[in-house]
Symmetry: C2
Subunit: 201 residues, 2 copies
């Protein structure tokens, strides 16, 4: 346990920053100092933005997106194609697809992928709610926009089996997605091509 040298308020800030993804203890100290130096232009506004986010952001009970309303803005958007559901692993993948502008449909966030190694089983994912949504007669196509990883493809097969009796068109992203790659790291053009060239599954 290193000696606390900066007073309890700063030490607490450093400790919490160190728990953010991408920051370790050392970079957390540097970040804290930079934030303190930019107190009025960055630290204060960031505190406010985090407070607003902590108080107002909810998970959409329909699709699993995060937003300040439930149902979320996307679920409430009447201009979206009601016949298509895009199944994603995580909200970050939903964001990546929205940024690409490749599809104007609604999403279903599974909240992960099946993984024997990590003990993630079907009941841990939002699969039952997907089957329920997919049972709506308005839904004609399910696009499986899952990562091109072993677990992602295992999950795609499981989801396909789960909705087979509904007799829907089930597609997956074209092989523009690099093998082993993760959606969130791809550029908009690649995602656009992968949506356009989606293939029957």
């Amino acid at each position: 346990m290193p000696q606390a040298v900066a007073g309890p308020e700063i030490e607490r800030l450093i400790q919490l920053l160190a728990r953010m993804p991408g920051l370790g203890p050392r970079s957390a100290r540097r970040a804290a100092l930079q934030l303190i130096k930019k107190r009025d232009t960055l630290l204060g506004p960031l505190a406010d933005a985090m407070r607003v986010a902590a108080e107002r952001i909810v998970v959409c009970h329909a699709c699993g997106n995060v937003d300040t309303s439930d149902p979320c803005t996307i679920c409430r958007d009447a201009a979206r194609d009601p016949s298509t559901l895009v199944v994603v692993e995580d909200v970050s993948d939903l964001w990546a697809l929205e940024r690409s502008g490749a599809v104007q449909a609604r999403y279903h966030v599974l909240g992960g992928v099946l993984s024997a190694l990590d003990g993630v089983r079907p009941e841990h994912l939002n699969i039952a709610s997907l089957v329920e949504r997919a049972s709506d007669p308005a839904v004609k196509e399910i696009i499986l926009a899952l990562n091109a990883t072993v677990d992602g493809q295992t999950t795609a097969h499981y989801v396909t089996e789960s909705i087979r009796r509904l007799d829907l068109k089930v597609t997956r992203l074209a092989h523009g997605v690099p093998v082993g790659g993760e959606l969130d790291y791809l550029d908009e053009g690649t995602l656009m091509a992968a949506i356009r060239s989606r293939t029957a599954f």
Copy 2:
């Protein structure tokens, strides 16, 4: 300008996170999502810690340290050796030295180093206030704990000239500090050795 896909509250959080040192736009999105997922255990507490820091942290008018009191905890610590001032470039260096436990004296934060390239001149640094503090008859030694960079050593020479008439013992850190290295990246043991082997300057 990428399309805003996550609602104005989340987009604002992402934008501000992207301005933190060590985070870019993409990692800021991932960080925002992780924070939202850990709303109660991380996002809320971090918002509070930043708010407390933004409201309570001040710069010590005596030494340039950051703390919730002015004078800071170190300046008010009667147990510290009053005969020695440790001159550092930045608060992060003060923290690094405090973590090492190598010295129990007070500090003077210059707030940077002289740099012709960056247009940093003596009047931009806390040198006049250092000369004033060093004029106190209780002060016997100035330890120049500046980075072993060209600018750091230029600054060390300038500070030495500025206080020459005061006839103090002026020392610098021993050459345990790697040439070109920065204090903030060193381990406690190296800093300890460097303080113990400090040489006349």
